[in-house]
Structure formats: structure tokens, C-alpha cells
């Protein structure tokens, strides 16, 4: 363990809350790249809605393309929040402290971004929103619950609601902190958001219990969301989509890409918001170690997918597998995918020196996500292009510029929302940082060393 800086509460407040109370140049500059991407995407979607879906590369038989691939990717990224928060909270991993909020907020924003994709994908957003609302209006018809496309919004909105509650309760002490440090309208707004938080022992206790309870409750949702998204494919009759392994395969792939995205985010937060005192090399080290396990599990499922078709000997499924491995451009995609999401990063992460090298961790985590994006493409597209035996209408899907712009914009949108969020709330929970400091001050009882307990007294109001 490296020497950790000893932080006073005032210092923590100052270092974590500056983006809320001032707008510095580094924060402003960080807004530029996501804004450019986002504007490109807004233009692309406007053209698409105005012109119709012919501006995409979609054609028979690939009726689903980049939008759905990207939808699955962002649902995957959203799994990081719960993975980091819920699992690490339940296992009481101390190193989770500074990254929980960023991970959870990324969950929310990536869920919102992914929810936009089916709406864009349908080409006439007003219709899909109106007709999929679970209310019969004057039609006398409810959405068809047999359709996986009805399961999707149910699962995703459940996850979104849970995550918002999760983040909000963790935010309350920080809202109160900002309320106490500000005046005027800001004080009023944050006062409302803080829901009368005064930091009494009872409030802390309830907040802690709620956090643990939500962690436990959200875990089944976490597993089910991506399973249900994978069933969009697995319940169809398309060969190589119609496989039982898809649900766990998608979940583990989601965790792999999501936790890597958290690494990327940690590095960016450290640079943009100067959080060197809070996000340490230890944290990169710990996440790196976690990722080695996850990535290896993912690789196992990658082989399992092939193994299943080899054992069943189903002709069409084997043909798709062969196409994935040997046919251009999927052979290239497979090689890039396996290299970027496993063969390059994992041996590097085995070394402690690399895990503590932040620029290297940043770039390898980006590599993983390039690989995991391609993985979704690799799973979805080769199968649908060669659907069934009537070869007459087989064709290859070539994504258009409009679709690529929307994909880029989705990254811009998540980045933009995160930066905007950072303007209003500290990305590292101030109360967790302080709790961590207190916990580290061990208390000695005779020969036994016990961790310290938070003491709430009048003099320590600044906590």
C-alpha cells in the first residue's frame, strides 16, 4: 500500500465540490468532445426521422443493425454500476468508496442512452412511444406480453428505477453538504433535494440499511436485465441466435465491458477533476484484478458458444460459426475482438506494475471496450445476414454514415451527461470519502485494534 494522503474534512469539501461552485476551464474544455459527437448524432437522427430508414444501411435480411448492436452495448455498460456498487457493498470491499457514484451514475446515463436506441431504430419515434405504453387508450389492445420487446422496457425501466433510487439515497448527504455551503436559490434547491437531512445517527443508519437492502434487491434485476436483452435474440428462430448460452454470455460480457468502462471513467475523472487524492493507484489495481477474473470468465463463454454448436452439430448453426471465424470481415472482427478484449489487456494486467500505471490502464480499458463493441456485432450480424436456407435473399449489411454518427453520439451523450452531472454533484461521494478517512483511523482497545466509528457531534458539523 502506498502512502495515502491524510485529508481534513475542509480539504475534502474543497477538492470535491469545486466543480459545483465554480466552472473551471478544464471542466469546460472537457465538454467540447462529447458535445461535438452529440451534435453529430442529433443531426443524424434528425435526418433519419425526416427522411426515413433508407438513410441507414439496413436491408433484407438484416433488419437489425448498428442501432441494436449499440443498444446491447450500452445495456452492457450499465451493468458496471451495480457490479461495483451492489456486489462490492455486499462484500464490504473498502476500495469501492470513491468509484461507486461514478459507476452508478454511468449506469443511469447508459441506460437512458440505450433506451433511445430502439426508439431511433424504429424510425418513427412518436409511434413506438405511443403504442408501447402499457395502456390500452381507445384501442382495446394492450401490448403483447409474449414479445421480448415488451419484456425489454419492463426490465430496463425496473433497473433504471432501482438505480435512480440507489444513486439518490447515496446523494442525500452530499446534497445536504452543498446546501449547508451555499446561499440563495441553490440553497433552496439542494435543501429540497436533501429531504431534511441533518446527519443524525438515525438518518445515517437508515441510509446505510437502504443502501445494503437495495444492493441485495438490485442484484437479481442486474442478472435479469441483460438476460432479457439477450432473449431478444435467443427466443427467435434465427440459427446461432437461438441458443441458451446467450443469457449468461451476454451478462458476463456486459460486466466485462462495464467494469472496463469504469476504469476509463476513473482515469478521466482523475485527470479532469484532479482527484488524485481520492482515486488512487490502489483502486486501479483492485479493479484490474477484478477484471482478470471477469475477462477469463467471458473467454470461457466465448468458447462455450462455439462448443455448443459443435456438440449439437446443427448444420445452420455450424455455418454461422464458420462464417464468424473464417469469412471476411468477420474473421478480422473476431481476431480484433479476442485480442483487444483478452489477449492484449489480461497478460498486462497480471503485472502489478501495469495495474498501477494509470495511462496504460486507461488505454487498455478502451481497448477492451472496442473489443466488446465488436463482440456484439460479431454475435448479432453474421447470423441474421445468413438467416435460414432460402439463399436467394441473402445479403450483407453495410452500416451507413448516419448509423455510425449515432453510435459515436451515444458515447458523446453519456460523456456529456456525466460532465453535466459533475457540475451539480461531486462525482466522488464526499461523505464516503470522509467515512473512509475515519475508518482508517484505527482505534486501539487493549491489544485489539478495531476500526474507528463515525462520531456525530455538534463540533464536527463540518463533516
Amino acid at each position: 500500500m502506498q502512502d495515502r494522503p491524510t485529508l481534513t474534512p475542509t480539504q475534502i469539501n474543497e477538492e470535491l465540490l469545486w466543480p459545483v461552485f465554480s466552472f473551471r476551464r478544464r471542466h469546460a474544455i472537457a465538454f467540447i468532445p462529447p458535445m461535438i459527437l452529440l451534435m453529430g448524432g442529433v443531426a443524424a437522427v434528425t435526418i433519419l426521422v425526416y427522411q426515413g430508414l433508407w438513410v441507414t444501411g439496413l436491408a433484407r435480411p438484416a433488419f437489425w443493425g448498428f442501432f441494436i448492436v449499440n443498444f446491447v452495448f450500452w445495456i452492457g455498460v450499465s451493468h458496471a454500476g451495480t457490479m461495483i456498487s451492489a456486489i462490492l457493498r455486499l462484500t464490504q470491499a473498502e476500495w469501492k468508496r470513491p468509484i461507486t457514484r461514478a459507476a452508478e451514475v454511468m449506469t443511469i446515463f447508459s441506460l437512458i442512452t440505450s433506451l433511445l436506441h430502439p426508439v431511433i431504430h424504429a424510425g418513427r419515434p412518436w409511434r413506438i412511444i405511443y403504442w408501447l405504453l402499457p395502456y390500452d387508450f381507445s384501442r382495446g389492445i394492450w401490448p403483447d406480453i409474449r414479445s421480448p420487446l415488451v419484456w425489454d422496457p419492463i426490465a430496463i425501466t425496473t433497473y433504471l428505477t432501482g438505480s435512480v433510487l440507489f444513486v439518490f439515497t447515496a446523494l442525500i448527504p452530499d446534497f445536504a453538504l452543498i446546501r449547508d455551503q451555499s446561499t440563495g436559490l441553490r440553497k433552496k434547491i439542494y435543501g429540497q433535494l436533501a429531504l431534511g437531512w441533518r446527519g443524525t445517527p438515525r438518518q445515517w443508519k437508515l441510509q446505510g440499511i437502504f443502501g445494503l437492502l437495495m444492493s441485495a434487491l438490485i442484484l437479481p434485476v442486474f442478472v435479469s436485465v441483460h438476460s432479457i436483452v439477450s432473449w431478444d435474440f435467443a427466443v427467435s428462430v434465427v440459427p446461432a441466435w437461438h441458443v441458451t448460452v446467450y443469457a449468461p454470455y451476454f451478462v458476463i460480457g456486459a460486466v466485462h465491458s462495464g467494469v472496463s468502462m469504469v476504469l476509463t471513467l476513473m482515469a478521466l475523472m482523475r485527470w479532469i477533476f484532479k482527484l488524485e487524492n481520492y482515486i488512487w493507484e490502489d483502486h486501479f489495481d483492485a479493479v484490474g484484478r477484478l477484471l482478470i477474473v471477469i475477462a477469463t470468465l467471458w473467454l470461457f463463454f466465448f468458447f462455450l458458444d462455439f462448443a455448443f454448436s459443435f456438440y449439437t452439430r446443427e448444420e445452420q448453426e455450424l455455418a454461422v460459426m464458420e462464417r464468424r471465424l473464417f469469412e471476411w470481415p468477420f474473421n478480422a472482427i473476431t481476431v480484433i475482438m479476442v485480442f483487444t478484449s483478452y489477449i492484449i489487456p489480461i497478460p498486462l494486467w497480471l503485472s502489478r506494475r501495469v495495474r498501477r500505471n494509470i495511462p496504460l490502464m486507461f488505454w487498455t480499458s478502451i481497448l477492451v471496450n472496442i473489443g466488446m463493441w465488436l463482440e456484439r456485432y460479431f454475435l448479432i450480424i453474421p447470423a441474421i445476414e445468413r438467416k435460414q436456407e432460402l439463399t436467394f435473399l441473402w445479403s450483407n449489411y453495410v452500416p451507413s454514415l448516419i448509423e455510425s454518427l449515432v453510435v459515436l453520439a451515444s458515447f458523446g451523450m453519456v460523456g456529456f451527461l456525466l460532465l453535466l452531472f459533475a457540475k451539480f454533484v461531486p462525482l466522488v461521494p464526499a461523505w464516503e470519502a470522509k467515512e473512509g478517512v475515519v475508518f482508517r483511523e484505527d482505534v486501539q482497545f487493549g491489544q485489539v485494534v478495531l476500526p474507528g466509528i463515525i462520531k456525530e457531534t455538534e463540533e464536527e458539523n463540518v463533516w
Binding site: G52, L53, W54, L58, A59, R60, P61, F63, W64, P118, H121, A122, G123, R124, R127, I128, W131, L132, I141, P143, D144, R146, S147, P148, L149, V150, D232, V235, S236, V237, V238, I384, K387, Q388, E389, L390, T391, F392, L393, S395
Partner: protein, 239 residues
């Protein structure tokens, strides 16, 4: 009318690949004109299409034709995946597409093993003079809507009304879809499968009959009659 089950038999042996059914269907069902661009982009719309496969090596090549239309499956993969009931089964064994409900998820088309569903990527347009030729009984589909063979449901409905008015079933007995009506070789036979005397139900149980991609278990209302290849028999004798 629920004692009716519409079905079709496609005799592959009789099909000459003339595409008359395709043109008849387009005229009957207000299908937009497919331009070069639509074929190149694989976005052409044809509720019935003649799939052409080549068999053998040059110079001994044979063209094989397979007319494919919506199979009106009894156990249709497209139906349960639609979130808004835009496609469902009616009591006459037909797979119905409701254009007004379609939101354009395109899941049904992904899940159709016969590639029988077509999506309107563009808003359909016709040359000005063609507007008066459109069939008033058939909705023109806007962009963003899935469409497919309806078994000429407008004809079925009209015939049912006439039969009800006249009190006899003559109109229904003589009912033909546009494609079957246009087929010069009678390769397409349409009719009521529940009527044991109809031509279609007799052909339906012919020894040559088979189902396209039977392994998927879609239980279609359309069956195909096998090609009779006299050369294949001769070759078999020669060996």
C-alpha cells in the same frame, strides 16, 4: 365463416418463372414500383417472389424456380414477437398484418424463416398518372411499416359480403388471389382447405407435397408440390 381455412398449393413442377404472379400482386395490392436502386439495396418489395436457383455446372445448367410468399403459418414465428399485435392469426387460418398498429421494430421480419416480410424504407410514390390506378380496397402503406402477402384479404372480405347478401356461397367458392388468377400454368392454386372437394385440398395431400423448411415447425397453410425431373430419373437409370 369460421369453417373456412384458406390455403394454397404451389406446384413447383408447373412454375415457369414468368413472374406474372409478381406483377398481378403488385397491381392488386398497391405495391410501390421497385426501381433499380431498390433491388441494389435489397429493399425491393414483392409479396410473392420467384426465387431462381441454378442447378448443375455449365453447360448443363438448369434454372429452378421457387415462388415464395407468406406461408400463413399455423404456428407463425412472426406473431409472438410483435409487441403491439400488428400481426396476428385470424379464425380463417390467415396471418393478418395490421398496418395501423405497426411501429416498425422489424422483429417479425427477422424472425420470418421465409423472408416473406417486406419493410417500407421509403415513402412509396407512384408517377402522377398511376394514382388513379391504385386499388381503392387496399391501404397504401407509409414508410416505416412492415407488409407482406395478405392472401388478397380485400377479395376475401368482398366475397364474404356478397355471399352474405345473396345467401349462397358461390362468390366464395370462386374466389382467387391475384397471383393464382394470373398464373398461366396454374402452378398456384388457392382455396378453402376445409372443403374436401376443392382442388386445393386435394392437391394439399398429394404425394408430391412438402412444406418449406419443415424442421422449424411453422405449420404453414401453403404446401409445395415437388418438381418432377425426368432427366434425374434417366441419369439414375444410366448409372
Amino acid at each position: 365463416m369460421s369453417d373456412v381455412k384458406w390455403g394454397m398449393v404451389v406446384d413447383v413442377d408447373k412454375c415457369s418463372g414468368c413472374q406474372a404472379c409478381v406483377i398481378a400482386c403488385m397491381a392488386e395490392n398497391n405495391i410501390p414500383i421497385n426501381l433499380d436502386r431498390d433491388f441494389k439495396e435489397n429493399r425491393s418489395i414483392a409479396w410473392i417472389r420467384i426465387e431462381r436457383y441454378w442447378e448443375g455446372e455449365y453447360p448443363d445448367v438448369k434454372a429452378r424456380f421457387l415462388p415464395v410468399l407468406c406461408q400463413h403459418c399455423g404456428n407463425a414465428p412472426c406473431e409472438p414477437v410483435c409487441p403491439v399485435y400488428a400481426t396476428f392469426h385470424n379464425d380463417q387460418g390467415m396471418n393478418i398484418q395490421v398496418y395501423n398498429r405497426c411501429v416498425g421494430t422489424r422483429y417479425c421480419a427477422n424472425n420470418c424463416p421465409y423472408h416473406a416480410r417486406y419493410f417500407n424504407y421509403r415513402r412509396p410514390t407512384w408517377p402522377e398518372t398511376y394514382n388513379n390506378y391504385l386499388n381503392p380496397d387496399v391501404t397504401v402503406r407509409d414508410r416505416g411499416i412492415m407488409e407482406k402477402c395478405s392472401f388478397c384479404v380485400q377479395r376475401i372480405n368482398a366475397a364474404t359480403r356478397i355471399a352474405k347478401r345473396d345467401g349462397n356461397e358461390d362468390a366464395i367458392a370462386g374466389l382467387q388471389t391475384a397471383c393464382a388468377q394470373a398464373c398461366p400454368t396454374d402452378a398456384l392454386v388457392f382455396g378453402n382447405l376445409n372443403n374436401p372437394d376443392s382442388q386445393v385440398s386435394q392437391l394439399y395431400n398429394d404425394e408430391r407435397s412438402y412444406v418449406l423448411q419443415e424442421s422449424i415447425g411453422t405449420q404453414p397453410n401453403i404446401r409445395y408440390l415437388k418438381k418432377i425431373d425426368e432427366h434425374a430419373a434417366a441419369e439414375a437409370h444410366a448409372h
